[in-house]
């Protein structure tokens, strides 16, 4: 469903070149939910942004044959002076879906009630996350990209999010970054491990988690020396 052909990405920070992804080729299987694990700075979010098409690789090519969501995470595209409803309308227009239906869906789902009529700058970060999550769930994507976001809100909201995911799972896939192994186990059945040494694919989520934890132990040992 998403094919990476030999992609590379380098960031230049103050003249220093920092390679993030080096000649990676991989085909994300269309019938599995995929975790992306790795230490901070290994390029997980960069990979996610490239999967979404929000950023281009320096070299190589990405082919998407399905509708991929925007990367749902902490960085939101909200305009602070616009209200929740106005932001929803904007995103609905960009994706060419019925704005009123999305507003209705988000109203039912996010429990933001009257706050939806207030500017985003009055929202707490939890409220923003709920709005972003509701918005992306309201648009039908074949593949949802989730960058550490599901742990928002209280118990009821968490239950609701899980229910929505289960509803989506028969016909949509998830690619997820998370540091919470419980979540990874719950939603994903295989995954990629990104480390500064390279990228590995694990066909079984337990193997992936074991390898991730082993690599964390290694890093800790190195740091302790």
């Amino acid at each position: 469903m998403i094919e990476l052909h030999d992609i590379s990405k380098t960031y230049r920070v103050k003249g220093v070149k920092k390679p993030v992804i080096d000649r990676l080729s991989f085909t994300f299987p269309g019938d599995r939910n995929i975790a992306i694990l790795g230490p901070n700075g290994a390029g997980k979010s960069t990979l996610m942004r490239m999967l979404a098409g929000a950023e281009e690789p320096d070299e190589g090519e990405i082919i998407r044959s399905v509708r991929v969501s925007w990367p749902l995470g902490f960085a939101s595209g909200f305009n602070g002076s616009m209200t929740g409803v106005e932001n929803i309308r904007f995103v609905a227009r960009v994706y060419g879906v019925d704005a009123e239906a999305v507003i209705k869906y988000v109203q039912d789902f996010s429990e933001l009630n009257e706050s939806l009529r207030l500017p985003i700058k009055t929202y707490s970060s939890g409220m923003k996350a709920r709005l972003a999550f509701g918005m992306s769930m309201a648009v039908d994507f074949d593949c949802y990209l989730i960058d550490e976001i599901t742990a928002v809100g209280d118990q009821t909201f968490k239950k609701k999010s899980q229910a929505v995911f289960r509803e989506k799972l028969p016909h949509s896939r998830i690619i997820m970054i998370s540091h919470a192994m419980g979540q990874i186990r719950q939603y994903c059945d295989c995954g990629l491990l990104l480390t500064p040494q390279g990228v590995w694919y694990y066909n079984d989520v337990e193997d992936l988690i074991a390898a991730y934890e082993a690599s964390n132990e290694d890093t800790k040992r190195v740091n302790a020396l």
Binding site: R12, A54, E56, G77, M82, E86, F90
Partner: protein, 270 residues
């Protein structure tokens, strides 16, 4: 990998891509309208108060020192043809300069490209300024300060070329500003003398040739001259060089768009 795709499917892709771009630009225009003018009720009003106040001040000064209008019988019309043109250019230049930095958050949504924001903002400026220009001249007409333009089609040309010049200048500076933040100050300084060197309160055809030799490098002056050639029946500018200002406008536009394309990856957009 276009090689393997049958051509009718390719056409479909191109059509889809165009449909997405139109949709995105329309969404952005609506968003920009809200962001640019929505926060204060006076937003749109200021757009017309600024040139009106500018014209009024110039009229007051020149009347007070007992001068005749530099051309024609109406001070207000003469200054308005200059000021409205200059403000149109300045509006493009200043609004587009920060376009890539101000809208980084929007790049979260992959269908939105950096240039879409540029086009959306330009469309909004062009539409707003067009309404203001028409309102302003109609207002002058209603107060008997101006007649109907002699060559309306030339006014439209002048408006379009000024908008293109502003777009090119703004788009080029937007790329430079995304690299060196301080370029913004350089542009502000560069634009400051424009009010004196763009023929706002004098007729360049009546100026000494050694002054004109310098003034005619300023493309905004040619925009003003083009506008007056359209408004007055017998302005007959000796300075206006249409191909010069057109060339500058097209070159700046190409530089701005090409520069955006070449630096897109470093900016982290798509």
């Amino acid at each position: 990998m276009v090689a393997g795709i049958p051509s009718n499917q390719q056409n479909e892709r191109v059509r889809d891509a165009l449909a997405v771009q139109f949709r995105v630009i329309a969404a952005l225009v609506l968003r920009e309208t809200r962001a640019a003018y929505g926060t204060s009720q006076l937003g749109y009003l200021w757009e017309i108060i600024t040139p009106a106040a500018g014209t009024a001040i110039l009229v007051a000064i020149f009347t007070a020192i007992g001068r005749h209008p530099p051309f024609g019988s109406s001070f207000a019309l003469f200054f308005a043809t200059g000021l409205l043109t200059l403000f149109l250019f300045r509006k493009f230049a200043s609004s587009l300069m920060g376009v890539y930095d101000a809208n980084k958050a929007l790049m979260t949504y992959p269908p939105i490209k950096g240039t879409d924001v540029l086009y959306a903002r330009s469309l909004l400026i062009a539409a707003t300024q067009l309404v203001i220009t028409v309102l302003f001249y109609s207002g002058l007409g209603a107060w008997n300060l101006a007649g109907f333009p002699a060559y309306p089609e030339k006014l439209i040309e002048a408006f379009a070329v000024t908008a293109l010049l502003g777009f090119g200048f703004g788009a080029t500076n937007a790329v430079l500003v995304s690299y060196f933040e301080s370029w913004r100050q350089v542009v502000t300084i560069l634009m400051r003398p424009l009010i004196f060197i763009s023929a706002i309160f004098y007729v360049p055809s009546y100026m000494p040739p050694e002054v004109v030799d310098w003034l005619k490098w300023n493309p905004v002056l040619h925009c003003v001259e083009w506008m007056r050639n359209g408004y007055y029946a017998n302005y007959d500018s000796q300075v206006l060089d249409q191909s010069y200002v057109l060339t500058v406008a097209v070159l700046l536009t190409l530089t701005g768009l090409l520069g955006e394309r070449l630096t897109r990856q470093q900016r982290g957009g798509a």
